[in-house]
């Protein structure tokens, strides 16, 4: 799971922030996403690990936010669910005897680091509440 993590987590959090006082079940959440509940629980495990949500086991159990939606930024979710944005690397290690091959990955990385800084900055300005209000 890489490509869907951010989207699924944001979807979960959006639903949780619509019902901040209820424990929502993974089955219910999965229903909105048309996804397998186990997948949802995996993402929730990640959110719990980072103290964004809490879960209650057993009957009538489920998950709810631990933090007000206005205090969660999309950058927080980004960092929790996404390694790094990159425009890619070649799979193969380049030729270290070529001056370009020797430094290409380091120069790409530095470019990608700059891109990630910009993205983080932008996402930091958007709260989960902002996002939730688009629905």
């Amino acid at each position: 799971m890489l490509s869907g993590k951010f989207a699924i987590t944001l979807h979960i959090l959006t639903l949780l922030s619509k019902f901040p006082d209820e424990y929502l079940s993974s089955e219910f959440l999965a229903g909105s996403m048309n996804l397998h509940p186990v997948l949802v629980r995996k993402e929730i495990a990640n959110l719990k690990k980072n103290n964004i949500v809490e879960s209650k086991e057993g009957k009538n159990g489920g998950t709810k936010l631990l933090i007000p939606a206005k205090d969660i930024t999309l950058d927080t979710i980004f960092k929790l669910t996404f390694e790094k944005v990159t425009l890619g690397f070649s799979k193969k290690d380049p030729n270290p005897n070529c001056p370009v091959g020797k430094k290409i990955n380091q120069n790409l990385q530095s470019l990608y680091d700059d891109i990630n800084d910009k993205i983080s900055n932008q996402l930091h300005g958007i709260s989960l509440m902002d996002f939730e209000q688009k629905f």
Copy 2:
């Protein structure tokens, strides 16, 4: 090929801009990347289609830049080789009967569009010459 396209193309162009007057063979280029020449030719086909480089077939053939490196921006290469940066979508279509499910993809897309604008803007400020000079 998705993840490596931008990196491989930029690598190729960096080499071409180091030797702007020579036709470099796909074998030579592949050697710097430790890659199969066919893969290199595939990316070159894309560059040709967009009039960034020209190739000469036959003995002593190869590829060279059609445009000065200072006039090629990384944004141009980005647009030629990368669909769009995204933080991902869920694979499954969400539930259209849920207010969140109904609009989640459109709201994600709009967020990702903003991100891409920022990236394009940033890459537009870096020329292939700028990049080549880091080596």
